[in-house]
């Protein structure tokens, strides 16, 4: 039976090791947005030995490219994008920089799953296509790096009770495999 947690960023090892595949997490605090273009820039900075534009230790990165905000709003619609495009970058941020959480949708590769086990990190799924609903949980947004990337710029978001499901935990579990096996009807 899945459990429900309320967590606040930055996340610690203790925060993430208690989480299991299928658990519901309401996340609050500061999170950062980045898609593949921004991830590539972060990795380039690491290769050059330079400092990253935000404190990544214990951080949660949200894979999202929001729509422009309407006047008076902090952000436009802001649901998750497909995560596999970040697969080649996430393991280094987790293993070398201490990133603790990722928010997206869709499958991750074995390298990401292994990094989650090795360095204790979690991949959360948010509901794709629920951008208007999810934006309500975002209280402020500020572009902190790469404004030239437009929707793909790195933003600092303040979220309250952002609704998530644990897809990959620190034990190698994968909700996409477990959930599907449970409901699959094999043909005789």
């Amino acid at each position: 039976m899945s459990k429900t947690y309320h967590l606040t960023t930055p996340l610690s090892d203790e925060d993430v090791v208690q989480l299991k595949v299928g658990d519901i997490v309401y996340l609050s605090g500061i999170i950062y947005t980045a898609r593949d273009a921004a991830h590539k820039k972060l990795i380039d900075l690491m290769d050059e030995g330079k400092e990253l534009p935000f404190d990544i230790k214990g951080s949660v990165i949200y894979f999202v490219g929001p729509t422009p905000p309407k006047p008076g709003d902090p952000i436009g619609s802001a649901g998750p994008t497909t995560s596999y495009r970040m697969d080649s970058y996430s393991p280094r941020l987790i293993n070398e920089m201490g990133q603790k959480g990722m928010i997206g949708k869709g499958k991750r590769n074995q390298d990401v799953i292994d990094a989650c086990i090795k360095s204790k990190a979690v991949y959360f799924g948010a509901t794709g296509g629920a951008g208007a609903l999810l934006a309500r949980q975002i209280k402020s947004a500020e572009v902190i790096a790469y404004p030239e990337l437009g929707p793909e710029a790195i933003r600092k978001l303040e979220v309250v009770d952002f609704p998530l499901t644990v897809v990959n935990d620190t034990y190698g579990g994968d909700l996409y495999k477990i959930g599907r096996a449970k409901y699959e009807i094999k043909e005789s």
Binding site: S2, G22, A37, V64, G65, P66, T67, P68, P69, K70, G76, S77, A78, G79, T81, T82, Y84, K105, G106, K107, G125, T127, G128, G129, A130, G131, A132, L133, L134, A135, R136, G150, P151, P163, T165, V167, L175, Y176, I178, G179, R180, A181, K182, Y183, E184, I185, K186, E187
Partner: protein, 283 residues
């Protein structure tokens, strides 16, 4: 010869883009409601609840349903006796797209294929639109529009099967495509299948199949039968809403078929996410 003003086309395109980006059409809403009621998996039921609530918020507050407001795709039937005054039809559709995406606070999602630089300042906000023209008899103008997101487009596939593969080969190809896609295209999905024609004709047919109203039957009995078989097979995969494990994976399977070369059997699968933003209008 009937004349139609360039500005009238621009306005109609703009209005339809803004409306469909914020209001989930009735067929998709009905299908999502049905999936919500019938889903046995608690985690997927919660996802479907969020999607229905999202549609509600988007419509009442005029917000984009999804941050991926898509590329603008049009199927346009132009009467041979229609003349556009004040500009070209293609320019009018692109201009309506540009204004609609910008005024609706939608995302500009077109970029250069290699540098990935956004094209909003170079070509125009979310331009160019993808437009398929068809010349027909009369003086009418019929425009079908959909906002097509990237996640579901990324799992779409086309192939050319040997004719001996037949019906079974097509069903296997579609099943394999949806199975491999798993959670990535934002299920529950609508599956468009194009059969026959040439390589590109099958692909265009699979796209056009997605414009059909969800929940309607195919007029062709053979294709309708295949759609039913595929619905069962694909829902049996257990993928569920957002791939988290459940019964409701596919809201509809729509097939369009064309005559083809004696040597070939082209097949294309175009996947549509649950946010099936489409509309049609006549001018």
């Amino acid at each position: 010869m009937r004349e139609i003003k360039y500005e009238d086309i621009v306005k109609a395109v703009k209005d339809n883009i803004i409306y469909s980006g914020t209001n989930l059409p009735k067929d998709a809403l009905t299908a999502l409601n049905k999936a919500y009621k019938e889903e046995e998996s608690p985690v997927c039921k919660e996802v479907l609840r969020q999607l229905l609530k999202n549609a509600d918020i988007a419509a009442s507050e005029a917000r984009p349903l999804c941050q991926d407001t898509g590329l603008a795709v049009f199927f346009v039937k132009v009467g041979e006796d229609l003349k556009v005054v004040g500009g070209t039809l293609k320019d009018a559709i692109n201009e309506g797209t540009r204004i609609g995406y910008e005024e609706g606070y939608f995302r500009a999602s077109t970029c250069v294929w290699n540098t990935r630089a956004n094209l909003k300042d170079e070509i125009g906000y979310n331009l160019p639109a993808i437009i398929h023209f068809d010349l027909v008899a009369g003086d009418g103008l019929e425009i079908e529009y959909a906002a097509k997101g990237g996640g579901s487009e990324n799992v779409s596939r086309a192939t050319v099967l040997p004719p001996a593969a037949g019906r079974e080969g097509i069903i296997d190809f579609v099943t394999e495509c949806v199975s491999n896609a798993g959670p990535n295209p934002c299920p529950p999905i609508i599956v468009g299948v194009g059969i026959g024609g040439t390589f590109e004709k099958a692909a265009i047919s699979s796209k056009h199949a997605l414009f059909r109203t969800v929940g309607t039957t195919n007029e062709d009995a053979t294709l309708n039968d295949m759609e039913g078989e595929l619905m069962t097979k694909l829902n049996n995969l257990g993928i569920g809403a957002m791939g988290m494990g459940g019964r409701e994976t596919v809201l509809g399977v729509h097939i369009e078929a064309n005559p083809c070369h004696i040597a070939s059997l082209p097949v294309s699968v175009n996947v549509q996410c649950h946010s099936s933003r489409h509309t049609s209008f006549k001018l």
